[in-house]
Assembly symmetry: C2
Homo-oligomer: 337 residues x 2
């Protein structure tokens, strides 16, 4: 049912269908170029909660609820849910999803978590272990700022290479439905941890670009395809600087992706006007763009085969204080119309 291709790529012989997807974002994200693609816009950054962490939990709850409603499914239809976020011990996922009563498998791949969850959900469905599985991830600007940059009053200046944590969540529901009009997950490549020694936490794009290159190159080798076989290659959130570096690294491997590549972190904000420096980031960046603009395009058959490569930096504030370098990872899925 699932076939190995080459080194570390898997091909779903019976391709899982994306029967539902939904995105929820904050006000700033909804002022960007993708505003018409999102399902719900949150104008109250607190989402009616008394802490940022609980607010982020509500983002996940909303994304899953809307995906269920859009696909006319009930939480009881979902066999397994894969979820994750950036908070310590992934609390926005555990608290956000606990009331749904769905068998739960917490994932941690930093900003790559959405595609990791998608790969796992696809494996569950394609293997017969599940009729329907879901994945959801989130991030919230304020909970991330508190956790990673506290005390904020210190006013550390953000360099141009830094990225802006997206307030948002995205959810996908995968099923073994054979309905032809639905987007399908065809191939996946699981990332390896790559660490080329970058230790600047304000330049995550540079830390993650080598991981994206490693995964892309293995995918192309394993599938014997090239960039021109795909309508678009979307990276998770390398940002502007990380994307430029990706072009250079891919060029060194003899592969040019400049002409059909976009980065979710660059797409979600209007860089000129929004003061986000290198672009968006966070587990909610790739997930909210995937579960809106990208899947809208594939569903409408504007794009018939796309690659989504979510990148994650597997550091922590502690590892940075201890002068460690930043290990990164990138997971890939090929989604087809």
């Amino acid at each position: 049912m699932i076939k190995r291709l080459g080194d570390s790529t898997i091909r779903f012989e019976k391709e899982p269908s994306i029967v539902g997807f939904a995105s929820v974002v904050g006000k700033k994200e909804a002022e960007g170029p993708l505003k018409d693609d999102f399902d719900k816009i949150i104008y109250d950054m607190h989402l009616g909660q008394d802490t940022w962490e609980k607010a982020e939990s509500v983002l996940q709850k909303e994304a899953l609820s809307i995906a269920l409603t859009k696909s006319k499914k009930d939480a009881r239809d979902i066999d397994f849910i894969f979820a994750g976020d950036l908070l310590n011990q992934c609390i926005s996922s555990s608290y956000g999803l606990k009331d749904f009563n769905i068998p739960y498998l917490g994932q941690y791949g930093a900003c790559s978590t959405m595609v990791q969850g998608l790969v796992m959900a696809a494996v569950m469905v394609a293997s017969g272990a599940s009729h329907m599985s879901a994945c959801v991830t989130s991030s919230h600007f304020c909970s991330a700022e508190r956790q990673y940059r506290f005390p904020l009053d210190y006013g550390g200046q953000r360099p141009q290479s830094s990225q802006w944590t997206v307030t948002g969540a995205g959810c996908c529901i995968l099923s073994d439905s054979e309905e032809k009009s639905l987007p399908k997950v065809k191939v996946a490549t699981v990332g390896r941890i790559v660490d080329l020694g970058v230790n600047d936490q304000n330049n995550m794009g540079a830390a993650m670009a080598p991981a994206a290159t490693d995964t892309l190159m293995r995918f192309f080798r394993d599938t014997k395809t090239s960039p021109s076989d795909y309508d678009m290659i979307y990276t998770g959130d390398l940002g502007k600087i990380g994307s430029e570096l990706l072009y250079e690294l891919m060029q060194k491997e003899g592969v040019d992706i400049r002409h059909n590549h976009k980065d979710c972190g660059v797409m979600i904000f209007d860089k000129k006007e929004m003061d986000v420096h290198s672009g968006g980031s966070g587990c909610g960046c790739c997930s909210s763009v995937l579960c809106s603009h990208i899947l809208n395009n594939v569903t409408a058959r504007k794009q018939k085969s796309v690659l989504v490569i979510a990148t994650g930096a597997l550091l922590s504030p502690t590892s940075i204080q201890q002068k460690e370098t930043i290990p990164s990872i990138a997971h890939l899925v090929n989604i087809i119309a």
Copy 2:
């Protein structure tokens, strides 16, 4: 290849084999009743590193290396590795495993992570997505104390219901080998998040026992079996108090497990002499006991069919400060000789 049973249980039709397993523990754990079962004992809590977090990374590295050596495999033979720990952003896994170059999928289920990883690795192997996959988890008393109970100088007194974080790691390697002498993973039940309102972080056993009950009862219903069908039911780390509560909760469901139940957190320490209060805990507790005593028993056919249910408390220091209750989860596998 994988069959759904009832509500949320999966049956591996071609059962993945456990081709290798290994455990590494600290000095205190090696002074307990299971001392002769462990593969390696660490007498230097620093493991030659300058921080506790790096020391914990080395535990994972050692556990995987020994499991590879014992099974005569190479890191290149492993298609996917599932790993996790209790540290923020799971850094002992990402830093500990980065040099092995194995496609990596980070898991977070608190102290339930080992069985979660085992379920995922088994799914990968049974579905044909992988010939060989591994899982590894760790915890370290000192990195956990620093993260969860800092500043230690405050000297908060440990109540009798508290548990002692195990310094240890365990690793399992699963493969599609059909060699009959190897232990096999036959059935798995994925846990749901259960939260009955316990908010005392010094009584995790009480928070987790309802999750263990929920998973066990669903497993018995889905498989139409009862406790007497199994040689032993091992829970992850409910400790003494959590185990007593589990007996009561199971009794309310009409099921008596007192006669063939043991808890890894109780087994690993000598409660009378070791001042560990309710018992051991941490991602390294269930994994080091599973990958030593339990799998030794199954390999030697002293036990032919056992249940391993690892429990996890999905809280964080932040959620506790915010007066949240403690959501818990329990994942189960049935391992057969």
